[in-house]
Point group: C2
Chain length 191, copies 2
DNA sequence: CGGTTTGTTAAGAAAATATTTAACGTTTTT
DNA sequence: AAAAACGTTAAATATTTTCTTAACAAACCG
């Protein structure tokens, strides 16, 4: 058996962190967040609040990369600026509560999806409606416009529902509705 | 006023579709799906089942692109192979029910997230545990291992919950729990 | 079987994205 | 007010990803 000293242990701890950091990065990649942004998040998740310089040192990347990375994560509402007293540099902290992470991340995306598509649908239907009203057109064309109009109309309930879901996630209601279901015990509380 | 004939109407219908197709593509881009895959989905959404050649003609792209695009969409469970009788070419159809789209898409992603991270956590904790058991280490190092271990332990309830949510989405339970909420007010009717 | 058609894989070209270095503007400190 | 530190933006570079053309493999038809 070889000696197992503090240095080796530290390396092993670091390795254990990296395992999870990589996994978090891959997860975020699933949802369209850059892997490097994901790695940054994972690092902040373990390190607590950090300055840009600390991130740069930790990840071995340039400072502008850190700056834009943090900005991206802020856009997703999973990183916030913090204040470390007596510290001139800005500090940032990653959301550590994955329930809040989920909440912030998906409600943001779903809101955007709902608004974006409802706007497109409204505009599209407006155009189709004016075609449907035009008497000089062949029945075939008029009918096609109507079919497309109806397809769009039928999709609206989904967006209303999505908006509702987003609200429930935002307020935390969803966590009351969907129960926790650990294999055995559960002592955690949400939000 | 210019005449408004069938040809112009058809162009206008096509334009109305494109409006929504672009919006769908942007939406899917939000979730990390390529814009071109999103455009392909949008096209299939309106066209119904299509062969690869029809897609190629419609989108003006190469056939291998269509092939890989369809494959990607199949991975997300939002496109399926269909059978058009007496047709030698394969045909594919896009999921038109956005509720099912949501269901298929997110349950797939969430499952993957849960499994992926739980595996990483288990492995990481195993490593940390063996450090915590090593008596020859300094208290400082041992404690750091324990802290990291605990952070990971605390995140587990989230993944259990996520798995639960994924199941509820898969089975459709979620649609009973989160009510539909069409805006019962019609103060804003645009024509 | 041989010849065709269809779909996929591979390799190369093109495009988009990420990253870095350098320059800039702003704030803080002395 | 000047100098220094910090963060962001811009331009250039590097890398990755996407897309196309070409070669390949499998299914279908006579």
């Amino acid at each position: 058996m070889a000696e197992f000293g503090d240095d080796q242990a530290k390396a092993s701890i670091s390795n254990a962190k990296d395992l999870v950091i990589d996994s978090l990065a891959e997860t975020m990649d699933l949802y369209g967040v850059t892997r490097s942004a994901g790695t940054l998040y994972g690092t902040m998740y373990f390190e607590g609040d950090m300055t840009l310089d600390e991130m740069r040192d930790e990840l071995g990347m340039s400072k502008p990369s850190m700056s834009t990375g943090v900005k991206k994560l802020q856009d997703f509402n999973v990183v916030k600026k913090t204040f470390r007293r007596g510290q001139r540099k800005h500090t940032y902290v990653a959301e550590r509560d994955f329930f809040k992470f989920f909440s912030n991340f998906f409600s943001h995306k779903w809101d955007r999806e709902a608004v974006l598509n409802m706007e497109a649908i409204e505009q599209s239907q407006k155009q189709l409606h004016s075609i449907m009203e035009t008497a000089t057109l062949s029945e075939e064309v008029r009918q096609e416009a109507e079919e497309v109009y109806d397809i769009l109309e039928q999709s609206k309930p989904y967006y209303y529902w999505l908006q509702r879901l987003s609200d429930m996630v935002k307020t935390g209601e969803i966590f009351d509705l969907v129960p926790f279901h650990p294999p055995e015990d559960d002592e955690n509380e949400q939000n």
